[in-house]
Symmetry: C2
Subunit: 145 residues, 2 copies
């Protein structure tokens, strides 16, 4: 009944390292595979009149975000020394959908995500933990940050 | 950074065994102490006119509930073979407050609680997992049931 595939749901906040350390530790305890995911939520560009403005953008914002996120996740994984972890940056309508998709596709049985304190910026992370908890297809470990 | 004191937040649903098994397993993995808690939420008796009706009650509902809960938690612990676990039945205004109180009093660093599916009765458990997650003073493992 032990965990076999742990998924670290990474944001790039100051606390990501703590959450990642916990994910790494629990995967080690169980001898489980470890993967890390960062979800880039779909950017909703309101262009008003139409698409004629698009060519002035050097690149679509989604693409830039995806590339930057891949770099940031790579750096985070390096800091955490996650040598054997798969790193996934995915684009999805919401963080929740992106994470759940990976859970289903890769037989994840534990998601590790940051929780939050009572105040401030952490609320944002909290609402992700919350969304992930609702209807999660597997166990969820919310790490207090 | 391993967990040292795991708290199994027990209800008496059909799924309590699954959640308890997980709590036991993770405590074993970490060599952590394991305790189990069941919170009896305060009963709000509306007596209308006053307290003159109280003497007809053979016992206060809270007391009956506490006694029955102690028996039920004992049985659950037996089924789970939690020989060394402390079992706590506490009375509190809410499940959340009861659990958090125990966390603070006993240096718990991981709460294990049932999560829920998408439908039905499980929603009740879900809302507890949810409440526990908000402002939890430590990590929370939500076990999918």
């Amino acid at each position: 009944m032990g965990y076999r595939h742990v998924l670290f749901a990474a944001d790039f906040s100051d606390e990501a390292l703590k959450v990642g350390e916990r994910a790494k530790d629990i995967a080690r305890q169980y001898g489980a595979r470890l993967s890390a995911i960062h979800v880039v939520e779909d950017v909703n560009i309101s262009l008003g009149g139409g698409y004629e403005l698009l060519p002035v953008l050097p690149e679509l914002p989604d693409k830039v975000l995806l590339r930057e996120s891949r770099a940031a996740l790579g750096q985070l994984a390096q800091k955490l020394k996650l040598e054997n972890a798969d790193l996934w940056v995915v684009n999805a309508p919401s963080t929740k959908e992106g994470i759940f998709g990976a859970v289903e596709d890769h037989q994840v049985d534990l998601i590790v995500v940051g929780s939050h304190g009572r105040h401030g910026l952490a609320l944002l992370l909290g609402s992700t933990a919350n969304a992930v908890l609702h209807g999660a297809p597997c166990d969820v470990l919310a790490v207090r940050i």
